[in-house]
């Protein structure tokens, strides 16, 4: 293995030149900084909370000692899975946004903005209100079906004679999203009050009921979907240059597009099914990652996932601790951050088009 430094990049080569990696220094540094930030955020999530636990007690509990059963529960059953779920959901939502932005060529594509999260929400709310006996385990599947239907519909409706238009895609997505939200509202208005209240709590988009089971489900899906997304990253780079160039470079454009849509929808659907719709992460995180460092698609995806994880974990920590015991759902805080960014991006996109 040899390492060569070249114009802001490090090139790693195996001894027989079988594998060579050209890694941007700043991109790697940004990733390392985000990982450190996530570790600090995780530590803060362990320390901060309504249940007062001093640092020595916390450290003792983390080392496996049982100081009290309540403290064990708070640390191991409440704080830790909650922090992990927030990070996993953030990473999944963020990568979903990155995949959708790449496949649509639209920097405004976000699962919560173009109706994908709402499609997932409609199917899950229907299950809660109309079929209350249905196991929560089927929610990811239902959410996936709902999200996929909406994604296909938006794609089909926005494909005009002169090819897809980014603004048309986003406008149709917003319109469809409003339509689906009205169906969800109708269900909430006319459904049984107890089931509706249960659905409303889920719709707020919070990770307050996170369990180790959720950590397991999210991490299992993440491993599969994010790995495939990383494998597609080379083709994503080709797609960035336009469809014709991508075909010329040998990319299986149709297959890649299909794969990116399926993964983008799958990531959004699974995370929505577990914690409810958390908006704007898929929009904000890819842009934040791009601002942090200009990198190739693979490292950009890693940075995007880290940004998304940081964003949702920070939103959850602020939401549960800033005004405790009043609890603000993470989705509310990400929307507060995301809406101004969306407006700024929309203005920039409109200026670029006209």
């Amino acid at each position: 293995m040899s390492m060569v430094s070249e114009k802001g990049h490090i090139i790693l080569r195996t001894s027989r030149q079988g594998l060579a990696l050209r890694l941007p220094v700043w991109g790697m540094a940004a990733s390392a900084l985000l990982v450190c930030g996530l570790v600090l955020l995780f530590a803060a999530s362990m320390v901060i909370g309504s249940y007062d636990i001093d640092l020595p007690t916390l450290l003792a509990t983390l080392s496996g000692e049982t100081v009290s059963k309540s403290i064990d529960n708070v640390v191991w059953q409440f704080r830790m899975p909650r922090a992990l779920v927030a990070m996993l959901v953030g990473a999944m939502m963020a990568c979903s946004g990155a995949a959708l932005q790449n496949v649509t060529g639209n920097s405004l594509a976000d699962p919560s903005l173009v109706g994908i999260s709402q499609g997932a929400a409609l199917t899950v709310v229907s299950a809660i209100v109309v079929f209350p006996g249905l196991s929560p385990d089927v929610r990811p599947l239902l959410a996936f079906v709902g999200a996929l239907c909406v994604a296909s519909l938006v794609q089909a409706l926005s494909a005009g004679q002169r090819g897809p238009s980014p603004v048309r895609f986003i406008l149709i997505g917003i319109g469809l999203s409003a339509f689906i939200s009205s169906l969800t509202s109708a269900m909430l208005t006319y459904g049984n009050i107890d089931r509706v209240m249960s659905a409303l709590a889920w719709l707020a988009g919070g990770v307050n009921a996170a369990t180790w089971r959720d950590v397991f489900i999210l991490s299992s899906w993440s491993i599969v979907l994010l790995a495939v997304l990383l494998l597609l990253s080379r083709s994503m780079a080709a797609l960035r240059m336009g469809e014709a160039t991508a075909i010329g470079l040998g990319a299986e454009v149709r297959l890649v597009r299909l794969g990116l849509v399926a993964i983008g929808v799958g990531l959004a659907a699974v995370s929505t099914a577990i914690v409810g719709p958390i908006g704007f992460v898929g929009l904000v995180a890819p842009h934040a990652a791009r601002r942090l460092a200009h990198t190739g698609p693979a490292l950009h995806l890693v940075l995007t996932a880290l940004c998304g994880a940081f964003l949702v974990a920070a939103a959850d920590l602020i939401g549960r601790a800033a005004f405790a015991p009043i609890q603000l759902p993470a989705g509310l805080l990400t929307a507060l951050l995301g809406v101004p960014i969306f407006i700024a991006l929309l203005r920039r996109s409109a200026r670029a088009q006209y």
Binding site: Y51, F78, A204, A209, T211, F323, Q327
Partner: protein, 326 residues
Amino acid sequence: MRWLWLVLLIAAGSVAPATAEDCAAGLRPFSDARGVACIPEQPQRIVALNDQIVALPLYELGAPVVGSAGRVQADGTVYLRGGMDTLGIDFANTDITYVGGFDALDIEAIASLQPDLIIGGSYTDAAQIEQLQLIAPTIVIDNGALGLVGTLRALADASGRSGDFEARYQRYLGNLERTKSYIGDPSKLSATLTFMFPNGEDLWVYRAGLGAISQLLSDLGVSQPRAVAALPDTQASWSPELIQQLDADFIFGFYRQQPDATPQAVRDAYEHFAPGWCEALSACRNGQFILLPGPTFGSTMTGLELALDLVETHIAARAYTPREGE
């Protein structure tokens, strides 16, 4: 086949109800909406996951409520819905600690109170109940299925206050008979329950399920207008164009102790909803549209007793004009 029997036996065992022998010392079995749970024989620290439906009935029974879900006002202060109106209590003047909203609980705040019993409603998220079970036995009271009296009885049982509840309920039943005797034949009397939202945009009509007042009118045996009696659900949002269908001997509405729901504000809201509504309804024209205070649609014995007193005063102890056309 032997495996199948084994699986069935295990499955049966996992859903079999707990018995007194299954519960540890100091605990007893209790049937709730989810099955049978072991709860303390005499709970000492109860956390209520709903203020109006759980915390207030427990408090009026004298149960040791140490924490409750509540609501947040626009200025950020927290309060027990119906607490001041009904029992004169709030988080500020009791030892009850706020533990978040009923749909956004602060689970660590609940854990820090060291409860020995947690009581929620059927809307409480199943995943959240699993977490709460780690803190203390958590039971779910399905107030929709049990009705008001069933809910109050279940809460009294869970908190070890059945004796207090039954004594108070018997007194209510005695007073109910007295009111019936004043009215004569209550089934010849009709009444409609309406709930106007303060902005005057939405009017809900209740066939059943509006807390104490619904329970009382049902106990009295008062009839309802045909359109209301035929409602498939317990309540419905009503169109202003169909407001005449609500006419009855008496129509009830509700005001509350909050600036946007004063008696005048509520009357204005009816006018905003359906201009000229009072002229369209004989009950209103004849002064038989009655605004009752908030506790009468709450879920407490205090509310039930108040509803009985007010209905007796407004109906049994006065002359009235029967609904036209009946």
